[in-house]
């Protein structure tokens, strides 16, 4: 379980995240939707301190994240980025094994074996020796998901994982994410894919202007949004 309390983040004069509380329970898929600039990506990046929050606390399974345990805590919440950020000088296999081997001290043979299993899971076992530059966007993102899974994280953080993809490649990435959700992976997904959120999310959070406007099940949010800002946002995107 990951729990963040009263997260604030400023960028100069912009108050990007305004005292947000968020909890993701084990096995839960939580989607964050909302207009551009609503602070949803910033919130996600605050959770693993890629952005340092101005204030607030973050806990995983009751252990508070601090400067000293940051690295260890980060291994528990692997992140998938909008722009994939695969290591361009490493092969697909090395991309997946570099962190387990160097950060967690996993044996190379073990890490390779696990990486091959994960590549199979994302349907790319034939690309193990390819380099990122030879992959399509959808393939890159599936490798990025495999790389995140290789750390055996407690939770996966997705930062708009399909926003940089050509439309025809969105499906293959969402399919992998659905599969993970079915297997009980804990996921926090910032997304513009309303169809995915509706189908897969246990809970949906609607964010606007740095605040959580409302949280509810897909049905509550999409069919009976209680807040007027949610209603007007959904009217625009659906």
């Amino acid at each position: 379980m990951i729990k963040a309390t009263n997260i604030h983040k400023h960028f100069n004069d912009l108050h990007a995240v305004k005292g947000v509380d968020i909890t993701v329970n084990d096995g839960e898929v939580l989607c964050i939707i909302g207009p551009s600039g609503s602070g949803k990506s910033t919130l996600l990046r605050c959770l693993n301190m890629l952005e340092t929050p101005d204030s607030g606390t973050i806990e995983i399974d009751g252990v508070q994240l601090t400067e000293n345990n940051l690295r260890e805590m980060r291994t528990k919440m692997a992140m998938v980025f909008q722009n994939f950020n695969l290591f361009s000088h490493l092969s697909v296999l090395e991309n997946i094994t570099v962190a387990p081997v160097n950060v967690k001290g996993v044996e190379k043979v073990q890490a390779d074996k696990k990486a091959m299993e994960l590549l199979k899971l994302v349907g790319l076992e034939d690309k193990a020796n390819a380099y990122p530059r030879n992959l399509s966007g959808g393939q890159k993102q599936r490798v990025a998901i495999a790389r995140a899974l290789a750390m055996d994280p407690d939770i996966l953080l997705f930062d708009e994982p399909t926003s940089a993809l050509d439309p025809e490649m969105v499906g293959e990435v969402l399919d992998v994410m659905k599969k993970l959700a079915e297997e009980g992976m804990t996921m926090l997904v910032v997304t513009h894919e309303m169809g995915f959120a509706r189908e897969v999310a246990d809970d949906i959070i609607f964010m606007a202007d740095g605040e959580i406007v409302e949280r509810g099940t897909a049905e509550q949010i999409f069919e009976h949004p209680s807040h007027e800002r949610t209603q007007s946002f959904l009217k625009k995107v659906l």
């Binding site: 693993n48 890629l50 690295r71 260890e72 980060r74 291994t75 692997a78 992140m79 980025f81 722009n83 950020n85 695969l86 290591f87 361009s88 000088h89 570099v98 962190a99 160097n102 950060v103 967690k104 530059r133 790389r147 995140a148 750390m151």
Partner: protein
């Protein structure tokens, strides 16, 4: 015509020394330059200031002066203080000076290479729990290195030409070979034209090679 050919052949005799000194200097320059680049971006102010001072001194003084200090000044100073010191071979101070000189320039190139690495690569590495030194060693430096390889090649070409100043400290490289031959034969024009042709024979294919490498890397998008 024959005398020109002879001039070229004489200059060629200095080629191994010129190439050798240049190659060693590139290696020393890359290693020390990497150190300087890392010092310069260090969070400890003292370290970055040391690197800056070093770079300013090296860039602000002519290499020939540095070479004279290293080859003759330092042995003299040590001897004055009762330490019997003599370079076993003048090629050693020559390589040190060219290498340390090159390092000051390479530091900037390497720093540029490090900055050219996509910040997203660093974020991804951090998000996987890598420490700062792991991020540098496993992700940033290998990528920066690839970015600056063509610059290393260009620096090698530059050094081949710049090592000509070593003829003044008595290292028998291409130019010194030509000078010595001129002194004994008085074939002044063939001697120096010969040297020029040999330098060109080295630098032209090398620069073309570097340009081709750059082009290929741009195509590979790395």
């Amino acid at each position: 015509m024959e005398v020109y050919l002879q001039g070229i052949l004489v200059a060629i005799k200095g080629t191994p020394i010129t190439i050798g000194v240049s190659l060693f200097s590139v290696i020393i320059g890359a290693a020390v330059g990497l150190g300087l680049a890392l010092l310069k971006k260090s969070e400890k102010k003292v370290l970055s200031i040391i690197a800056k001072i070093y770079i300013e001194i090296v860039r602000g003084t002519p290499m020939i002066v540095q070479a004279l200090i290293m080859a003759y000044g330092i042995p003299y100073l040590l001897q004055q203080n009762g330490i019997m010191f003599k370079w076993p071979h003048l090629i050693i101070p020559a390589m040190i000076v060219c290498g340390l000189n090159s390092a000051a320039y390479m530091a900037e190139v390497i720093r540029g290479g490090i900055q050219a690495v996509d910040p997203g690569q660093v974020e991804a590495a951090q998000s996987l729990g890598m420490s700062k030194s792991q991020v540098n060693r496993l992700i940033v430096l290998p990528q920066a290195f690839r970015i600056v390889i063509p610059s290393f090649g260009n620096e090698f070409v530059t050094l081949i030409k710049e090592t000509a100043v070593l003829s003044f400290v008595g290292v028998v490289e291409i130019l010194r070979s030509a000078q010595l031959w001129n002194a004994s034969t008085f074939e002044t024009f063939p001697a120096y034209i010969g040297a020029a042709i040999v330098y060109l024979m080295l630098t032209y294919p090398l620069s073309k090679g570097v340009a081709a490498l750059e082009k290929r890397m741009a195509k590979e998008d790395l």
